[in-house]
Symmetry: C2
Subunit: 304 residues, 2 copies
């Protein structure tokens, strides 16, 4: 009943109007695994890096009980690098450069002991690689999938195949509209659920997130942050907190999925407070619980 996480590992160079950082640890599987590590262990990470991936990073991940047997280290290779610049309105960003390096030929091989994984988080990678991951698993019970506008537009057929095997799809509002060509988010959600996922989460950034179940909708607020230092990785931290909490509780009822959405939102709110993965490297369970309670206070109201 272990948790498998597959996705990118990267060094990110990030500029905001307030600060900048070079070669900060990033990538979808990194954020997801770290965020999930506060709820459950071990987490089996599958990804690829180059020789430039430091022992310090490996040690930090291992201290979070992240099993790195599935981490491919390519001799002589360079780790994926991404550079981005956020504007004064942090909702807008430009990609400055993308160096795929070893990620270009990433072929996710699941180590034998990880093939029994029952909970699977497919981070945002090409849909055919996501399918390749699922094909290696013995009996995945609960598959959570992330994707992006690029795959919606360029790998639509493969993405549809992934969706048919997906229990929870996590995407943002513009991706939901793009996938369905439907501006009304509630209608778009219904269309997406017909494609396979029993549950759908639509992330709306500063406006929170929506969880769609069979006949139920849950609206989660966003944590009101005055100082966002780096929005990178917010979505992956959300996904990690979400699946980590679910894996720890083994409860897939809608009421528990709502809690998982709040824990995901909490981890995302910590992630954006610092550059790179720094915001989710040194949390305590008490800090996370306190933020859960803050989310409840933020949205709670009673009848008179």
């Amino acid at each position: 009943m272990s948790l498998l996480v597959v996705g990118s590992i990267a060094f990110d160079s990030i500029q905001t109007p307030f600060d900048k950082v070079e070669n900060a640890l990033g990538g979808s599987s990194t954020y997801i695994s770290l965020a999930a590590s506060y709820f459950t262990s071990p987490i089996h990470l599958v990804g690829v890096v180059g020789e430039d991936f430091s022992n310090e990073h490996i040690q930090m991940l291992e201290e979070h009980n992240i099993d790195l047997e599935g981490l491919q280290i390519i001799p002589g290779g360079k780790t994926f690098r991404w550079g981005g610049k956020y504007h004064y309105d942090l909702n807008v960003r430009d990609t400055l450069f993308t160096e795929l390096n070893v990620f270009e030929n990433f072929n996710p091989e699941i180590p034998p002991k990880s093939r029994k994984a029952s909970y699977v988080m497919l981070g945002n990678i090409q849909p055919d690689l996501q399918l390749h991951v699922l094909g290696q698993l013995e009996n995945p019970k609960f598959v959570v999938t992330d994707t992006m506008n690029l795959w919606i537009e360029t790998a639509h057929e493969d993405l549809l195949k992934v969706l048919r095997k997906t229990d929870v799809l996590i995407i943002n509002d513009s991706e939901a509209r793009l996938l369905t060509n439907e501006p009304n988010l509630i209608k778009a959600a219904g269309e997406i659920q017909k494609l396979g996922p029993k549950y759908l989460i639509i992330k709306k950034g500063e406006h929170g997130a929506l969880l769609f179940g069979v006949d139920s909708i849950f609206s989660a607020p966003a944590y009101p942050l005055e100082d966002i230092n780096d929005p990178t990785g917010a979505g992956d931290s959300f996904a990690g907190g979400f699946i980590g909490y679910l894996h720890s509780t083994r409860d897939l009822e809608f009421e528990n999925l709502k809690r998982a959405v709040i824990y995901g939102s909490a981890l995302a709110s910590f992630a954006v407070e610092k550059f790179g993965t720094k915001g989710i490297e040194d949390l305590t369970k008490l800090q996370i619980h306190d933020r859960f309670i803050e989310f409840r206070e933020l949205s709670r109201f009673d009848e008179k």
Copy 2:
């Protein structure tokens, strides 16, 4: 302890990709008064119309216990007319025409008996007219103000004067950013509260609304509507439900303001289901209460 509502009264011609209507009853004070009428009475409406305003409309408003002593009917005049067209994405609209007619020289005169009003809703009109209204009142206890981007840009000084006399400002997210030149909504809210209003409500359309108190924030969800027929008047219906509920309860504690935001959101959700004011002309208290409960279900989650 009566409730005074000042604003526009209009005939709206509205096109959407699905339907259209000509000369539907509209205007801010109309929506506000109707929405408030489900919670409290009498409501003193102050506005201006032309001779073309029908007895049928007057009768409908009076049936909602709306006191029309402050309604100026200009002999030989024509009522304000507005035409707009919504796109397939209903968040986007174009104004097709604006005929101010009698509204151009609107000078809100408050009838003597209404000058004792303790609760005042200043609908979206020029800030100098809002000041003129406040100047006629004996002892307003609770002033709720709406405004728009036009006045933020062209009547800034007058608007600042209104804000100093305002208890609750209700604006949308783009107006909050415009007023403060600050993209982060939480920071923008703090800036606006320094200008006078003890409370601030930021409406975010399909993303719900935020209520800012002294040291508290409340995040209200949006009602998940698949079929929005006409977004016109949603904000005014929100304001009417908000102040109507508060006036009926005479309770200005933050916990009660949260309930008022939900009742406002409920009235807005009814308003957009039909063209013009039709969606809020024939509601029952039970329908409104049921929707309040639906809002609670939508956002409720518990600790395990």
